[in-house]
């Protein structure tokens, strides 16, 4: 069940110290154009506010 996986993943990431807002999960139907735009708009704002991810990022070179 995807929703249970997301609920636990979000909770677990938050527990180990990764910002909970980096895991976003929702449903959007193909017919919900307005909602889709709204979801992306707010998600982008949230992520921008958090800034670049620094945790668990691998540096190469």
């Amino acid at each position: 069940m995807a929703r249970r996986k997301f609920a636990t993943l979000k909770s677990f990431l938050n527990y180990i110290g990764v910002e909970g807002d980096r895991t976003l999960f929702t449903w959007v139907s193909a017919s919900e154009g307005d909602r889709w735009a709204q979801v992306i708009k707010v998600a982008t704002e949230k992520i921008k506010a958090l800034g670049p991810a620094k945790k668990m990022i691998k540096k190469i070179g």
């Binding site: 069940m1 609920a7 677990f12 938050n14 527990y15 180990i16 999960f25 691998k58």
Partner: protein, 336 residues
């Protein structure tokens, strides 16, 4: 314990003689002082090797899966009508039976392929903790008697109370008696202290995000990627672990911090509804990584979100395999 050991040997002999099991997985005395180690008994005579005491550490369910899988693979080229069934006997305490239930629920083998010899448990000794308790001295000889561990060490004679060196998972164990069994030995052990099982998790949850992250990274830095935690875990039985996949390669092979973090994070996350808190991963970890701090959170979420305690009954199916539309919370859903 002596009495249980005697009965255990008798039962093991009987099961082998009556051909109710082809092999019995149990514990025997180790080559080092104060150790017991997994063993495989195939003849009645060998059954006298079996021991049952506070030094029996590993969750043996892992070997049931290994043996049955290997046997099934060996039967692949045999004509269906000639295929033989192998019955694996196992000496199982509470947590071991929980792992067996998970295997059965996940359809890894049939109930009649495993013969469960249930034993009551009052906890096992945390070997690394014991070493710390005696100041890192080398144990030369040791006995457990009347709740005391008496040792000859490189630093003189030492005595430690058994209850002070039991593994963390045992102290707050809720299921120290077998949940399912074919043969039950001895009378049930008294309960441990399950009310305190989430105390450490709650304490950790109360810390700040950065404190939690700092602790997680500190612990993961100890990890040297020996894979002992994964290898000993009865729930880690994927034929190819994501760590070993190369196309795509999810995790690098080296000691890069992020790779270790991702390995551990993903392995632990795969334990949702599947970790029975047997403590095997913690006990085998050569570097003493505090895995339980994180795995217990997964257990807590399983209970608080879905009312499930992994492997606690045959009827309670794995939480990620179902959904309860009336009770599942929706607060994690992003709804702008």
């Amino acid at each position: 314990m002596e009495n249980i050991e005697t009965k255990l040997r008798e039962e093991a002999k009987r099961l082998l003689l009556e051909k109710k099991a082809d092999v019995i997985i149990g514990y025997e005395k180790g080559t080092l002082p104060l150790t017991a180690t997994p063993c495989f008994i195939t003849t009645p005579e060998e059954a006298d090797k079996l021991v049952w005491n506070n030094l029996c550490t590993q969750n043996l369910a892992k070997f049931v899966h290994d043996l049955i899988t290997a046997h099934k693979n060996s039967q692949k080229r045999v004509k269906p009508e000639d295929r033989k069934k192998k019955v694996v006997g196992i000496v199982a305490r509470g947590c071991t039976t929980r792992s067996l239930i998970i295997h059965l629920q996940e359809r890894q083998y049939e109930r009649d392929e495993v013969c469960i010899i249930g034993v009551p448990c009052d906890g096992y000794v945390d070997g690394k903790g014991l070493k710390v308790k005696i100041g890192g001295a080398d144990i030369v000889e040791g006995t457990i008697d009347g709740g005391q561990i008496k040792m000859k060490t490189s630093d003189g004679d030492k005595t430690v109370a058994l209850k002070d060196v039991l593994a963390e998972c045992c102290l707050t164990c809720r299921f120290n008696n077998p949940i399912v069994s074919d043969v039950l030995i001895g009378s049930p052990s008294p309960a441990m202290n399950p009310d305190a099982e989430y105390n450490a998790v709650k304490e950790f949850e109360a810390k700040s995000m950065e404190e939690r992250w700092a602790y997680f990274t500190k612990e993961m830095e100890k990890c040297m990627r020996c894979n002992a935690c994964r290898q000993t875990c009865p729930s880690c039985y994927c034929p190819t672990c994501f760590v070993e996949q190369s196309q795509p390669q999810w995790v690098g092979i080296g000691e890069d911090k992020s790779d270790t973090q991702v390995f551990q994070l993903m392995r632990m996350y795969h334990m949702v509804g599947r970790c029975v808190d047997c403590g095997s991963c913690v006990s085998v970890c050569p570097m003493g990584v505090d895995l339980r701090k994180f795995l217990k959170k997964i257990d807590k979420d399983g209970w608080e979100m879905f009312g499930n305690r992994a492997g606690s009954s045959m009827e309670d199916m794995p939480p990620l395999g179902r959904y309860d539309e009336h009770h599942d919370k929706e607060e994690f859903i992003f709804n702008p």
